[in-house]
Amino acid sequence: MSQQTVFAMTGGHVSLDGRAVLRGVDLQIRAGEVVAVLGANGSGKSTLIRALLGLVPLTAGRTELYGVPPARFREWHRVGYVPQRLLAGGGVPSTIREVVASGRIARQRRLRPASAADRAAIARALTAVGLADRAGDPVAALSGGQQQRVLIARALAGEPETFVMDEPTAGVDAASQANLADTLSKLVASGRTVVLVAHELGPLEPLITRAVVIKNGRVAHDGAPPSAVGAHALPGHDHVHPHAEPAEGGPLALSPGTAAAGE
């Protein structure tokens, strides 16, 4: 059961606006893994997870979700996607509860009103991120970190087996980061699969079981997370790659603060 393959990409190529972003990615993620996709800005890490979900089409290669290509995948309630940020759209207000409740949609049927199970899941999700008492507030009034919590609560409300998160720690205050780490540790303890893109891991570091480093659209490192081998490991991987430029090692390296937190 825990050996089930959640994502499987073979030779994945993606081009955006004619520019090659992913250039032959092979990646398998099994149920129960907690994978951090790391890489510099523009390395293609966000594109990778979006391609895993079928949100951007592959120009070559193939990818599967639970053994099925995204276009034919039907069990979307098994997957929860947390995008990088809350979109403002045209500015029509929505409450925290409305946004979180929309995460239930893969488990709902048309014409059926929200069930007791729906309401209970939404309430649990709101409580998990510490926003239950503010459920009626408009999301636009929240800080970046609080909006991130709303997005995570939306995915939680759907009770998926696998979470795919795009930079959940970016631009998030310390309290929200700690809340995220707490929420994630509970998910991991209950056997959920987590794939997250990160620039720096911060308090999430101890939870990560595997790190995939993307560089120039390819997998440059796949294996033990940075914390297990020390903060110096990542720049060390540069000489595996003949084209390594020292400047690109910078964003990959963990900041001194996070390295200390991991010790």
Binding site: P83, G90, T95, R97
Partner: protein, 277 residues
């Protein structure tokens, strides 16, 4: 005041206005959130060709307008979905082609006159027939039905199309459904506010409503209230003053927006004042 409600012409116009006031802002709330506020405008331009085709072929203009508006909306959505930079120009071609085609074809038809043109561009009370009211009623039921049945899915689509896709929603179908629903709304509103002002009734009540609300659902419902007040009030005004109803309706809606903006600002200022204390 009472004679207003006794005139059969006014009765028909008011029923039509009530339906328009309910459906345009309901669809409009999703349209605004999806940043397609000018979609209704574009469809309105295209629908004029549909109206003209009706005159030219001796078919009911409302019917031909529905067909052309729906085709136009689908075309707009497909262009929007595909394109980035070239999309703008493609849309402009459609819009101006629609208006120019409409004016030309109405001119060519026997019944067509400048008065006909004006009545479709800015609305007309006296030309609303019993059949029109029936068509408007059926289309409104369809539009409100879509909002009721697909509202939950459309909400997520308008929030974030990628999350909608990753939730297994039929994103393309929903986008087309929203565009087609907007097209039907344009035709519903055409007789009352006119094709050039249709979009205002989809956008202005929503803009007014969101000054006062905190949630999506309440914004939608309050926008419908604003919409009904504007259409019914604007139509009532044209009973006493002989102007195109579209003008009165839209100006009333704008007045509502100005009031809501003032009240909303006042409320927000008080709220932040309280939290500071």
């Amino acid at each position: 005041m009472l004679e207003l409600f006794q005139s059969p012409i006014m009765q028909r116009a008011l029923v039509a206005g009530l339906l328009v006031g309910l459906s345009a802002p309901a669809v409009g709330t999703f349209i605004v959130q999806r940043r397609l506020a000018l979609l209704g405008d574009g469809i309105g331009h295209i629908a004029l060709t549909g109206v003209a085709l009706g005159f030219l072929t001796g078919t009911a203009p409302t019917l031909t307008a529905v067909v052309v508006a729906v085709l136009g909306a689908v075309a707009i959505e497909l262009v929007r979905e595909r394109g980035r930079t070239s999309g703008d120009v493609a849309l402009a071609l459609l819009f101006y082609g629609g208006i120019a085609g409409g004016v030309l074809l109405i001119g060519l038809s026997k019944e067509g006159s400048n008065a006909t043109l004006m009545s479709y561009l800015f609305g007309s009370v006296s030309t609303v027939t019993q059949d029109d009211v029936l068509v408007i009623g059926a289309l409104s039921a369809g539009v409100l039905g879509v909002v009721l049945v697909f509202g939950r899915e459309l909400f997520l689509l308008c929030q974030d199309p990628e999350v909608a896709k990753a939730s297994g929603l039929p994103v393309r179908f929903l986008s087309l459904l929203l565009a087609v629903t907007a097209a039907l709304t344009v035709v519903i509103a055409m007789r009352v506010v006119g094709l050039l002002l249709v979009s205002a009734l989809m956008v202005v009540p929503v803009a007014a409503s969101q000054q006062l609300t905190r949630g999506f659902r309440t914004t939608l419902l309050l926008a419908m209230v604003f919409g009904v007040v504007a259409t019914v009030g604007g139509l009532g005004y044209t009973y006493y003053v002989n102007v195109a109803p579209g003008a009165g309706i839209v100006l009333l809606a704008l007045l509502g927006f100005a009031l809501a903006l003032g009240v909303g600002t006042f409320i927000r200022r008080n709220r932040t004042g309280e939290s500071r204390r």
